[in-house]
């Protein structure tokens, strides 16, 4: 695997007495597409600003390529940022915007012109040199902001919710565009978003954050299939999170019924969180299934129906392609492999999870 390019070491940061990051430790590998994912206020943007040099940590150090850059100002760092609101210079043409960084570093005129052409081509906006910033749409402005950053050939591109202001269709197009750009440029992307779908689509590696703590780091598949706690499970996609008791290895009790699972090593009679994805819940005709309940609501979502079933005193969220009218008496079953068992939070770090906004 590639070497580590950035390391955030034991970073703490607070604003006006509110702790935003607490003893954060994170390494980012070269040429990776790393996404910091979390709800607003989780510290992801602060982490990015620490990398960019716009904030200094109260405690801890930032390492870049082995060197301590904690107190280096932004203009001396070898990374560039794409800002949430694009932050283009309104008094300059598109070409002047893109040339800004190159002019500062005193590149030759022909080099700058070549770079502008190359960058505009890369973001599919050839011929826009003379246009003014105002005359571009949000998506176009965002692509110029990306072009402006990448012409400086940074080793790392920091992106702060760059697609947040765009509409759904454009956002999806831009996601593919960003993946393509990353492949073509071969540089490290550090991407901040609160959109779990965006994170799952684009990333090599996702860092899920909440309340200043890292909850889980892993590939999109890991994060989705094996969430390490209830917060991650809930934040990444929809989930049924049910209080349960682990009776012994491979046997868990929820809502008064005992069902088999595949997890081991939780001890006996241990309270746990049981997480079941809505698409893993199977509906059947009673008396099949371990629980029986009634369909409370049904919404058509295009690919599937989103059904709410009240069973065992819990409102189950179910995704299914079959239509069940409201009031239908159904049985619920889940195959053991699709039942995830998680420890209840114990330490303070993990408690932050429970008091989250979700």
């Amino acid at each position: 695997m590639a070497k580590e390019l950035i390391h955030l070491s034991h970073i703490s940061k607070s604003y006006d007495g509110t702790l935003v990051l607490d003893d954060l430790d994170l390494g980012i590998k070269e040429n990776a597409f790393v996404t910091l994912l979390g709800p607003s206020g989780c510290g992801k943007t602060t982490t990015l600003r620490l990398l960019g040099g716009f904030e200094t940590p109260d405690r801890g150090q930032v390492f870049f390529d082995g060197a301590d850059i904690t107190s280096l100002p932004p203009n001396e760092r070898k990374l560039n940022t794409v800002f949430q609101k694009y932050a283009l210079f309104p008094h300059m043409s598109i070409a002047e915007n893109i040339a800004f960084g190159l002019k500062i570093s005193k590149k030759s005129k022909s080099y700058i012109n070549d770079k502008i052409k190359y960058a505009l081509k890369l973001v599919n906006l050839d011929g826009y040199e003379k246009r003014s910033v105002d005359s571009l749409s949000g998506g176009q402005q965002q692509r110029i902001a990306i072009a402006r950053a990448i012409v400086n050939e940074p080793k790392v591109l920091l992106l702060d919710e760059p697609l947040g202001a765009l509409d759904l269709k454009l956002r999806q197009d831009m996601q593919y565009e960003l993946i393509r750009l990353k492949e073509e440029l071969g540089i490290t992307f550090v991407y901040v978003t609160h959109d779990q779908e965006e994170a799952l689509t684009m990333s090599d590696s996702i860092v899920v954050m909440n309340q200043g703590y890292i909850q889980q780091i892993g590939t999109p598949e890991d994060i989705y299939n094996e969430p390490c706690n209830a917060f991650v499970a809930d934040f990444i996609g929809d989930s049924n999170i049910i209080d349960g008791v682990m009776l012994k290895d491979k046997l868990v009790q929820i809502l008064g019924v005992t069902i088999p699972c595949v997890d081991t090593g939780f001890g006996e009679h241990q309270p746990v969180d049981v997480v079941i994805r809505p698409e893993d819940v199977e509906l059947s005709d009673p008396p099949d299934g371990f629980l029986e309940g009634d369909v409370a609501s049904i919404i058509f979502k295009g690919v599937h129906y989103e059904i709410e079933v009240t069973a065992g005193g819990y409102d189950w969220l179910v995704h299914t392609t079959k239509m069940y009218p409201v009031g239908t008496h159904v049985g619920i079953s889940v195959i053991p492999f699709n039942i995830q068992i998680m420890n209840k939070p114990e330490s303070n770090d993990e408690k932050a999870v429970e008091t989250g906004e979700f």
Binding site: N75, E76, A87, G101, A145
Partner: protein, 277 residues
């Protein structure tokens, strides 16, 4: 839209129309009439060409000189002030703006009269100088006193448009410039300065025009020794009772005002000033 409704709405602007016609349009027409006729009522350009008389020319040139000086001093004071103001914490910002605006709510005459007392030979400045064993300085009735009074009076009109245009620059734009490698000086020269040009231009108009036409300040702080074109016009009307001459010179002054505004407007839109008015 039905006709009746439209008519009624237009009716609402009636009082304002009366005001405009009666107190703005009519006086201007009267000034034009008086300025272009002699005392007998026949057409002449004599009142206009009277500006070339040495005494009038001297007053006009002095007015231009003092107004330019006042504008320059205001600009030099206001720009750094606006930057400091913009850098303050948001809560303190509005308070400091309030402090700057406070004097503007008091009557101009009152403020200038106060300065007249402060600068006089027995005023507080000379008293302090005397108690320190230094010689008294003639402060009142000098060109410097007039410029000082103008700067004191018009400074907020320079600060506010500059501050407005500065506060509209997003912090992420500044961050972006730094991110692209610009140091503090480069951020100032390439981002802040160009983006505040419109504010500077409105500030210049809003200080230069009233400074050029002022006569109360030069009257009170110049003590009749500093004769500005405004004072000359006032004397023509009030002392010589020569309305034709006064109007003729007013027209010349108006041309200067309009020309300076047109010049400035041609060099940038006036967005900064709109926020103040």
């Amino acid at each position: 839209m039905n006709f009746k409704c439209k008519f009624k709405r237009q009716f609402l602007s009636g009082p304002y129309m009366v005001w405009i016609v009666g107190f703005i349009l009519l006086p201007i027409l009267m000034i034009l009439y008086y300025g272009l006729t002699d005392s007998a009522g026949s057409f002449t350009l004599q009142n206009i060409t009277a500006i070339t008389e040495p005494i009038h020319m001297k007053a006009l040139l002095l007015s231009l000189k003092l107004a330019l000086l006042c504008t320059a001093v205001c600009l030099i004071l206001a720009y750094p002030l606006a930057m400091i103001l913009n850098g303050l914490h948001l809560k303190r910002q509005s308070f400091v703006v309030f402090i700057f605006m406070l004097p503007m709510w008091m009557n101009l005459m009152l403020r200038i009269l106060a300065w007249q007392l402060l600068l006089s030979n027995n005023g507080i400045f000379n008293t302090v100088l005397e108690s320190l064993g230094l010689a008294k300085v003639q402060l009142l009735n000098t060109s410097s006193a007039v410029v000082f009074g103008m700067v004191y009076d018009f400074l907020p009109f320079m600060i506010l448009p500059i501050y407005n245009s500065m506060s509209r620059i997003g912090s992420d734009v500044i961050d972006a410039a730094k991110d692209l490698g610009a140091n503090t000086l480069q951020v100032f020269l390439k981002i802040i300065l160009p983006l505040t040009v419109s504010g500077v231009i409105s500030g210049i108009i809003m200080v230069f025009v009233p400074a050029l036409t002022s006569f109360v300040i030069s009257d009170l702080l110049g003590g009749g020794k500093v004769l500005l074109i405004g004072n000359v016009i006032e004397q023509e009307f009030m002392q010589s009772m020569d309305w034709n001459m006064g109007s003729g010179l007013s027209i010349v002054l108006m041309v200067f005002v309009i020309a300076s505004m047109a010049f400035m407007n041609a060099h940038g839109n006036e967005e900064g000033g709109a926020a103040v008015w």
